[in-house]
């Protein structure tokens, strides 16, 4: 029993589910059992077996791999539970692709050979395509995803070819610096993780695909894979400062642009999708900084992001399931109706905004220190500092858009539509349990980051880098002590609590006075340059895919101009071509 076993099992499961009939009563228990046993087997093979993979030349398992491996299995189990409560149609196919995705992702992280890596990488992309397509009306989004990911896969192959040319082996190991290869491999990683400018498939996918798919793949797995590959890339190649700087700038731009796009979204899922893009920027910054703290921070941020972003998506899924909409202007005041979802989304929002003591803060804290000590800081002090500024300010903007999200969905006055929700649409265990788990993970990782993540993965040696450390555990204890004192004070004061109407100047609050979250930042959107930029963004000017498509159609249009369908014209062209070739020869 080694790390390959879960991969084999889940591949087999994929085949089995594909054959199973689409009967809910049959598929759901089967999938749950399968996913959970798979998780247990994975843990067993990770922790309780000697997993020295030396006997297998094409595979490897260092601490980073193992951490990611664990994470993927964990998400597999969580998402299977959620999906079983969420997905209603084509369950057999869904779970077939689901296990295929797990198998391929697990494969990616333990492969020690570029060829095997590429195969697994490709399969995971294809599985995503198939999963998106399950939803009717998601064809365009699926196609876009496929083209961007597939296109970047070809860059991956090109990059591997260059490395092979340089080293003569496909084994993933130290390689000499090659700008082209690095660029190709980075592009592949960025496309998978969703860095700018190859991010555009994520919002489309989030809007159209079934929600657990978005939560599972673009928000969690693909980030993990993309950043995992990037980490490896920075390990095997010695990046010159210029290249590092360029990557960091990409990271900084990703943070700021994506978060600005997120600010103005009216759709909860799209808002989250843009944050999924924005967070990648932090990881890129951390990893590209070349500083050990930055690397740890970037990698840790990847883990954290997978957790809180999935939590956020799952919460949104719960809201959508309950109310039937993800349009922010139609929601409001749901906190009383969905208390668990609210709490978990609140925690996840704090985490993503980097509020201490949650996990997102810890990783960002490491990343900032990493950038301050970045390898580029000597050659490009200004640019490095601007990257830091982008990261710091991006955090504020993230907070802003999550305040908007929380206000629009859960707080504020409730929308008139929300009173009519059937009770059986409230929180179900299968939907709530994953959220609780993920929210708990946010807190645990935040409080005990050092003990349960950094030490096991990177060894205790790295902590010597930090002279004295931020101890979130102590801080939280202190804050709890403060709250206890506060409550004591409150209790001693003997103040009575009473419910009474809201004061808006004498009248009762009317439904028309509901401030929905949608226009929360309208005054930012309307400021001079933003308005114009947002307008252009709405026209998809900044979407590489759309622009390429447009350019392609334009060229095709020109070609079509020649392609008249008149035989004599074609003959003339052939004839003219012949003459040119003849002359050229």
């Amino acid at each position: 029993m080694d790390l390959l076993l879960p991969i084999r099992i889940s591949a087999a499961l994929a085949v089995i589910f594909f054959i199973l009939p689409d009967k809910r009563k049959l598929v759901v228990p089967a999938a749950l059992t399968a996913a959970i046993s798979l998780f247990i087997i994975s843990i067993y093979s990770l922790f309780f077996r000697d997993i020295a993979m030396s006997s297998r030349p094409y595979f490897m398992a260092d601490n980073i791999s193992k951490a990611v491996y664990f994470l993927i299995s964990f998400f597999g189990a969580i998402m299977a539970v959620y999906s079983s409560g969420f997905i209603t149609r084509k369950l057999n196919r869904y779970f077939a692709y689901f296990f295929l995705t797990i198998a391929s992702s697990l494969g990616v992280v333990i492969s020690a050979n570029w060829l095997i890596f590429t195969i697994f990488w490709g399969i995971s992309g294809t599985a995503l395509f198939l999963m998106i397509q399950l939803e009717s009306g998601a064809n365009a989004a699926a196609k876009k995803t496929m083209i961007i990911l597939g296109g970047s896969d070809s860059l991956l192959i090109l990059g591997i070819a260059i490395i092979y040319y340089a080293t003569g082996t496909f084994t993933i190991g130290t390689a000499p610096w090659s700008g082209l290869a690095a660029a190709c491999l980075l592009a592949a990683a960025l496309a998978k993780a969703g860095g700018m400018p190859l991010h555009t498939w994520i919002p489309g996918c989030a809007e159209k695909a079934p929600l657990p798919v978005t939560a599972f793949i673009p928000a969690a797995l693909d980030k993990i894979l993309g950043i995992y590959m990037m980490t490896r890339l920075f390990q095997i190649m010695r990046f010159p400062p210029e290249a590092r700087m360029a990557v960091m700038i990409i990271g900084a731009i990703t943070i700021i642009c994506a978060v600005f796009m997120a600010l103005k979204q009216h759709n909860a899922k799209k808002l989250l999708a843009y944050h999924a893009v924005s967070q990648v920027g932090y990881m890129i910054l951390g990893i590209a900084s070349g500083n050990l703290l930055g690397l740890i921070g970037g990698f840790f941020h990847m883990v954290n992001n997978a957790i809180y972003k999935s939590a956020l998506f799952l919460g949104t899924g719960q809201v959508e399931k309950t109310t039937g909409t993800d349009r922010l202007e139609k929601l409001g005041g749901l906190a009383k109706l969905l208390p668990i979802t609210f709490t978990s989304m609140l925690i996840a929002s704090f985490a993503i905004s980097g509020i201490p003591p949650f996990n997102g803060f810890y990783s960002k804290w490491l990343i900032y220190q990493g950038i301050l000590g970045a390898k580029t800081a000597k050659d490009f002090p200004l640019l490095t500092m601007l990257c830091l500024l982008a990261a710091l300010f991006g955090s504020g903007l993230t907070l802003a858009s999550f305040m908007k999200l929380l206000h629009a969905i859960f707080l504020g006055s409730s929308s008139p539509a929300i009173g009519r929700i059937a009770p059986d649409n409230r929180e179900k265990f299968s939907l709530v349990f994953p959220q609780i788990t993920l929210a708990a993970a946010c807190i645990l990782l935040g409080l005990f980051a050092v003990n349960i993540f950094i030490k096991p993965v990177f060894g205790s040696g790295v902590l010597d880098e930090i002279r004295g450390s931020w101890s979130p555990g102590t801080a939280s204890l202190l804050m709890i002590a403060g709250i206890v004192i506060g409550l004591l004070l409150y209790w001693l004061s003997g103040a009575k609590t009473r419910r009474a109407g809201s004061f808006i100047g004498g009248y009762k609050v009317a439904p028309e006075m509901r401030v929905s979250g949608v226009t929360f930042y309208a005054s930012i959107e309307n400021i001079f340059p933003f308005r114009q930029i947002f307008k252009l963004a709405d026209k998809k000017i900044f979407d590489l895919y759309e622009m390429t498509k447009l350019g392609l159609f334009y060229i095709i249009g020109i070609l079509r101009y020649f392609h008249t369908g008149v035989l004599s014209n074609y003959l003339t062209w052939i004839f003219a071509g012949g003459i040119i070739i003849f002359l050229a020869l």
Partner: protein
């Protein structure tokens, strides 16, 4: 146990609260003198808070109770934690840890954040408007706050430890440092929600905005965290830019805050955004460039 003592008594909650109340009294007294009035007695801030704790606590009908009630407490304890870390670096310089500056900076956002959440939870349209304004305000000043910090980092070679700034000497003494210090002063005014940056509260526009629904002890906690902020923020600025905090430096900063408060009308929220993003940002960038060039 010592940590708990530091947090609760000195230099944390209690100490910061007492100093904050005195500062608040100075603020009101000086304001009154500027306006040809006598002003309140010295214990007035204390009376105000004590009074609030004997009052009834009114929770709006449609509010989300837990969020509404938790927000002031969270605000209070996190402001207290920030004050503790800052105070420790002043009084016990050896106790600091690397990166405490970032921790403090983030902790100082939490009071604003809980104010936003509390206001949003109160289900009052005016409070919602106030919450949206407060958030925009945070966005505005955070940018400049970080720019000023980055200048300080460049000047000190990336110091992340608060207690080391005092050893390092005043950042504000150089050209870029002086610019950054000026930016920080404006940011400080905004962080404390004082005129001209009090659009979120704007009593005469949206009846107190974010605070409109709070009463009794809950309002008392917000008041107390305001008092603590009035200590913590100027102290932080003083440490970073004036090379350590002392009573004299603190009072100078306090007086600057009060004067700015009393000689300006309130800015509109859009004007705040423009001011910070389009006027102060270029200035800040120039400061960063100057700093990288060694000025």
């Amino acid at each position: 146990m010592t940590t708990l003592f530091h947090y609760l008594i000195f230099p944390g909650l209690l100490f910061a609260l007492v100093v904050g109340m005195i500062a608040s009294w100075i603020e009101r007294k000086v304001t009154a003198r500027v306006q040809w009035r006598v002003g309140p007695p010295m214990l007035q801030p204390l009376y105000d808070v004590m009074k609030l704790f004997i009052k009834e606590n009114i929770v709006p009908e449609h509010a989300h109770y837990l969020t509404f009630a938790a927000a002031p407490l969270i605000s209070f304890v996190s402001a207290g934690l920030a004050a503790t870390i800052i105070g420790m670096s002043i009084f016990f310089p050896s106790s600091g840890f690397q990166g405490d500056l970032i921790v403090v900076a983030y902790l100082l956002v939490i009071p604003a954040l809980s104010l936003i959440l509390g206001a949003a939870a109160s289900a009052n349209p005016l409070a919602s408007l106030g919450a949206s304004r407060e958030m925009k305000m945070v966005l505005s000043y955070e940018l400049i706050f970080w720019i000023a910090l980055i200048v300080a980092w460049i000047k000190t070679g990336g110091l992340l430890n608060l207690s080391l700034f005092a050893v390092n000497g005043a950042v504000g003494a150089s050209v870029s440092g002086a610019i950054a210090f000026a930016l920080m002063l404006i940011t400080m005014q905004a962080k404390l929600g004082r005129v001209p940056f009090d659009a979120a509260e704007a009593e005469t526009e949206i009846s107190g905005g974010t605070y409109i629904e709070y009463s009794g002890p809950l309002l008392g906690f917000f008041k107390m965290s305001q008092y603590i902020m009035l200590v913590a923020v100027p102290a932080l600025v003083s440490i970073i830019f004036l090379g350590g905090a002392s009573i004299g430096k603190y009072v100078i900063l306090l007086v600057l805050i009060i004067l700015a408060e009393n000689t300006n009308p309130r800015l509109k929220i859009t004007q705040c955004l423009r001011l910070f993003w389009f006027f102060l940002l270029p200035v800040g960038l120039i400061a960063i460039i100057l700093a990288t060039l060694g000025y």
